[in-house]
């Protein structure tokens, strides 16, 4: 791309198309205001946990037999409920605005 020779004067392989979008991003990007996905995941799983867990309380013996005698709805509901609450707790303990969420790798 010989026509871009003047762009490389900073010792960087800069490209005009890349630079333009980068400039626009730095000036106007709104992504920092993104909502927190942990709240959405937590909320959905709490609801799922409650629905499935309550169904588990009233499972007929036919349904328990189908699941090889495991009260799977009760178990799955409880696990999802706890998982959802943990997500909400994590979000509460370290909100998005913090520079870096804790337990990043967990």
């Amino acid at each position: 791309m010989a026509d871009n020779e003047d762009r490389y004067q900073h010792g960087e392989a800069h490209d005009p198309l890349v630079d333009e979008t980068e400039d626009a991003r730095e000036a106007r990007s709104a992504a920092a205001r993104l909502f927190d996905i942990r709240r959405v995941i937590g909320g959905l799983f709490v609801v799922y946990g409650l629905i499935v867990g309550l169904m588990g309380l009233f499972d007929s013996s036919a349904e328990i037999d189908k699941a090889q005698g495991v009260r799977i709805n009760l178990w799955a509901g409880a696990v999802m409920l706890v998982f959802g609450l943990l997500m909400l707790l994590w979000q509460r303990l370290s909100p998005t605005e913090a520079p870096e969420p804790q337990r990043d790798e967990s």
């Binding site: 900073h10 010792g11 979008t21 992504a31 993104l34 996905i37 189908k66 520079p99 790798e105």
Partner: protein, 551 residues
Amino acid sequence: MGSGLRLNMNALDYLILALYFVTVLGVGFAARRAIKTSVDFFLSGRSLPAWVTGLAFVSANLGALEIIGMAANGAQYGIMTVHYYWIGAVPAMVFLGIVMMPFYYGSKVRSVPEYLRLRFNRPTHLLNAISFAVAQVLIAGVNLYALALIMQALLGWPLWIAIVVGAVIVLAYITVGGLSGAIYNEVLQFFVIIAGLVPITVIGLVKVGGVNGLMDAVRESKLGEAGLHAWQGTGSTDNPLGAHWLGIVFGLGFVLSFGYWTTNFAEVQRALSARNMSAARRTPIIAAYPKLLIPVVTVIPGLIALITVKGLGADQGDLVYNNAIPLLMRDLLPNGVLGIAVTGLVASFMAGMAANVSGFNTVFTYDIWQAYFRRDKPDGYYVKVGRIATVVAVVVGIGTAFIAAGFSNIMNYIQALFSVFNAPLFGTFIIGMFWRRMSALAGFWSLLSGTVVAIATYVLYKTGVISFNSDLEESFWGAGLAFVTVAVVAAIVTPLTRPKPDSELTGLVYGRSDATLADDSLAGDAAWYRSPVLLGVVAVVLAALFYIPVF
């Protein structure tokens, strides 16, 4: 598929599914607030933390390919299927994070094809941009078709309704929410998919008498003892997979997997949206950890289905291998977790399709439209183009969905596509990154000839001119041959052509790092547990250790 797979969904199961649809759309619309610039739309403004991009990275790959295809492979080939994870994914993901991400993220390219434009020239770029765009639409079609088939079989929805519902929801949240909509939903989808698959595995294992019961039963199945070993019997091709260990290590473990994971923009895009270099490098490595464990909820259900579903493995009808998971859902899950499992399957198809569509719209807008058609428009114009491209991709995807109908095993079809598009691309990338002298013209001819060789191998195999033990072996060898072709052509053409000046290579090749690049690290990035190299090495060691009990 007939009505034999029909699930007994009740109102609460449908409520679970409906809640999921509502949430996914809500996330899309909420993400809309965060779109001001084209980088916001296509790369989430490069603002996301590593755990989000990492989970999206693994989720983007959890489409039809994973869930249905890998369970089918588990039933058909047994434990050897873990090769797709432990040697066929984890090392490449770690390599992407440690070695290649500094070039991708550091050069601020907005897509994988764009790297080729800067490193080589515009013809190389255009060739790759077009082949990628075509591949993404085809694969989006595969995902959509698989989704529709499952919905039709499980819920009794007519095929076209299933296709339209699936397509419209994905379309809505990507068109509106851009990559943030896609990525945030992928994180959500990851957890829903796991929540849907775990109960199947747990109840399935209870039914067959735990892990020991499973192993005993597999020994007596048609797979026999060979179904329990990953490496034994690979000295020849006399094993369930029909693959020699050389093919597994070099074909799958090196060329095929590195091609897929390191150059597939639908994946790499997730890392490019990370908020800084450290998070970008950790993205694929964080994804490697769930990847290590996913066989537990895909391969094991496959084996359980082999044992508990009589007659599984038919050539057609309800008992094809691809129905392993749906059959287990029908037989084992009561209402409640059944709704979760259906939702998980739907989520997986949407995640896969969304990854393809969001990869496509970015490459189409930045690499085709902006680079070759309408160059100097205001930034907001390209957001509009991206939204239109999304609509077009989904519409074309619906059309291509039916191409997938000709293949009994979706997995093989997708593998065939990847060997055609990704293996030569990986060869060109890796040589271009580490051999500074490689010229721009060499890049073009390498990529073109490698792609031609991969397509030719596939066509010759399909027409019966050359023969392999299985479709999978064909893709190993096709990928390997394409890679070698790329290397040979690069070595021949480079000395005959003009090198690219060093000033144009800064930040793009090994040994020419960009000294002016600002340090973007955040507080805490220096912590040992956030070191990409350490995290990566641990992932690879775990993958090796996991092989021990199933050697």
